[in-house]
Amino acid sequence: MAKLYCKDLQLMAARARLLAVEAVYTAASGHPGGSLSAMDILTALYFNELNVDPENPRWADRDRFVLSKGHCTPALYSVLALRGFFPLENLKLFRSIKGHMSGHPDMRHVPGVDMSTGSLGQGLSTAVGMAMAAKLQNRSNRCYALCGDGELAEGQIWEAAMAAAKWKLDNLCVFVDVNGLQIDGRTADVMPTEPLDKKFEAFNWNVIKIDGHNFEQILSALDSARSFKGKPTAILASTVKGKGVSFMENQAGWHGKAPNEEQFAQAKAELEKTIKELEGN
């Protein structure tokens, strides 16, 4: 597949946003807020960066991705479907007993999912293990993970951060989706995790700060991470929780809540308008 660049990525992300919100609406449950904040990062990864093959999702030399903030399956599943890992139709079975599109990523049932996650704080360690395995087996693939800023309150994250630096995992790149909100409110109030740049630097990581909704910045950070040797890279991406749906933006209340019929109609109208505008460009 040809790589997508900025404008096409914007359009793909807008489509993915609509699919994600629709999946949550259909399931009447799920996590729209963090899915929308992370969508541009995921779209850039799957349509520009990751060396993967939807026809052969277990290909040994593929790049790996671990969704450490596992509740953002609406985003991951939508992007995987658009990338061709499974039919878009499957999204209708999100969180349903009739299928296997579980609420949190399930590597045994959803093609393209490299690790089962959902219990916060655990995914990054598994990505560290994958990066170590790649080095041990002399594979040149890279490993990526996506964490939430609230998730970084979990102690295991920092155990993993120490280990990644110890083994100089320059084949590991972690995005932090810094949307500043979590279930109980502002991350700054619930349990301040900032200053994240200084923390990761102190843990001997290469740190890059970007706007997580700016594709030029996302792609340039990925380029820079790929060429950096001797340390893992953390890309701290400032984002807006609920990005793309006006009434969800910056509202902690939309962390894990499904829109009702009226709200979904509005969200759909807004996202369709965005898609149309981007298609017109």
Binding site: V66, S119, G129, E159, A160
Partner: protein, 315 residues
Amino acid sequence: MAGKIATRNAYGEALVELADKYPELVVLDADLSGSTMTKFFAAAHPDRFFDCGIAECNMAGIAAGMAADGLKPFINSFAMFSSGRIYEQVRNSIAYPHLNVKVVGSHGGVSVGEDGATHQCIEDFALMRAIPGMLVCSPCDGNEMRLAVRALMEYDGPAYLRLQRLSTKVFTDELDNYSFRLGKGCTLRDGGDISIIANGLMVGMALEAADILSSQGIQARVIDIHTLKPLDDELVLKAAQETGCIVTSEEHSIIGGLGSAVCELLGEKCPVPVVRHGVNDVFGRSGTAADVLEYFGLTPQGIAEKAKYAVSLKK
């Protein structure tokens, strides 16, 4: 083999023996390689040994990632931490995706001795057995440990293996009727009046208890159930049917371990008196291993007393 060896030493040696045949074998430890005896592997294969520091949760996650990519990790710490501290990492990152990680808990039970209750894990079987798809194994001597490690190397899936700190007599290699298969128990001694079903350290003591009982006219069958899960239903049911009462013996709480596993099976399929011998729902305490075992009645005499009680419950 003969002589005495701690199962942790036999384990450490077995890993080294398997290293060449299994290039995908990797060993992870959390700053306890001198106690878990992974130091032998670390010395022989430093490129395949990863000391994760005092960060057991992360070690479990790293192993999950490695297993997802085709390696066969054995992760090591004290039983307290391998089953307790990282229970949820084992459940969610390893067992839920059914990854091929062997979770090893050294220093199981109260025979840890002097370190006391914080380091005497008597709940590991209960915790690990409750996880869907988890195999749970607790070998009884150095010979059985060696066989178990070999079998686990070939077993594809998550498993928990308990090691002992204490040096004990190796005896299974001298028994004519002994054979080892994961998931299958082994009758070490026949008898018709009662069955003593044991694992780990208690198997050797169960054989001694059978001698004591025999001198008092009670013929005890002794069954080694090294694999608590999946339980050898057939062998346990046969014992219940043929001997009419059971004593289970384990260096573990009487809640959730081998005793519970046997009761769960027999309660449904063949209700006979089952008396559970183990640690009676209390924490351990400091002392020499021998003193602590004596304190909790984890002795051949302790088993024999429970056995006589079980026989008295037979109708």
